[in-house]
């Protein structure tokens, strides 16, 4: 049995290992449960399960989940249940080759100020921006890493260099994004 506090702490230090731990702990039981209780196909159950683990992870990263009164497994099953019902209601079956719109829909549900086109354009812009800029920005904005942590991760000279690099990267990303936005207005 994984303690919730230990696991949340682990997400902060070794996130991929922590995700795998909870993934393996819940997988077979959750897949069977989704197929039995919600008549999901094996593939749909797998999509819902993986999406649920992703949401658990996101809830911790965005600090929506700080304390948990139930155990982790119950929490994952709760997310899976909601997603299964949502998918049944909307008859929107997860499309296994379109994860971008799948994840984008989840983020839009949480923040109505952005739309799918904008998210697609940002993702495209990030791909065009490439590394190391993409990594620097995602680490800073999503993973909330400090300048010192990014300096170490990227082997930069010091935190000032990283700060400067982050500023330049953001400007570049914004320019790419702006050109995509302009293009979409013309189209």
């Amino acid at each position: 049995m994984i303690s919730v506090i230990d696991w949340i702490q682990k997400i902060k230090t070794n996130e991929n290992e922590a995700i795998k731990e909870i993934y393996m702990l819940c997988k077979s039981e959750c897949l069977q449960w989704l197929q039995k209780e919600y008549n999901c196909t094996k593939d749909d159950a797998m999509d819902i399960f993986q999406l649920s683990i992703m949401i658990l992870y996101d809830n911790i990263k965005t600090q929506k989940l700080k304390i948990l009164t139930s155990n982790l497994k119950t929490y994952v099953f709760g997310i899976a249940r909601n997603k299964a019902l949502e998918l049944h209601r909307s008859r929107q079956i997860p499309v296994t080759d379109d994860y971008l719109s799948f994840v984008a829909s989840y983020v839009i549900d949480e923040d109505n100020n952005v739309n799918e086109d904008q998210i697609n354009m940002v993702c495209q812009s990030l791909d065009e921006l490439g590394d190391p800029c993409k990594t620097v920005l995602v680490q800073y904005y999503y993973h909330d890493k400090s300048m010192d942590e990014i300096t170490l991760m990227m082997s930069y000279k010091n935190a000032d260099t990283t700060k400067n690099q982050k500023y330049k990267c953001l400007k570049r990303l914004q320019n790419i994004y702006f050109s995509h936005k302009q293009k979409s207005i013309k189209d």
């Binding site: 983020v107 904008q118 940002v122």
Partner: protein, 82 residues
């Protein structure tokens, strides 16, 4: 991004919810009057959510990878024990 590096730090602090109450209210007053600052905030929010999607997609792909690896391992085991 039209904002200076200093304003960008304020924007970062604002979207991450890290500004003090006083600084936040002062900053929100500026947002009402400074169109460029407001536009940069909107852009930054969109970029931020796009980065979130990108990070989450990486995790989903990682999970898909585990499943593919497991299928591969089962196939190898089947060949070995046939």
């Amino acid at each position: 991004m039209r904002s200076s590096e200093k304003d960008l730090m304020l924007l970062d602090g604002y979207i991450k919810g890290r500004l003090d109450v006083d600084v936040t209210s002062e900053f929100e007053m500026r947002l009402v009057h400074e169109r460029d600052l407001k536009a940069d905030l909107e852009d930054l929010k969109e970029l931020h959510q796009g980065m979130r999607v990108k990070a989450l997609l990486e995790k989903l792909e990682m999970m898909k990878g585990w499943e593919n690896d497991m299928v591969g391992e089962v196939s190898i085991a089947k060949i070995l024990f046939q």
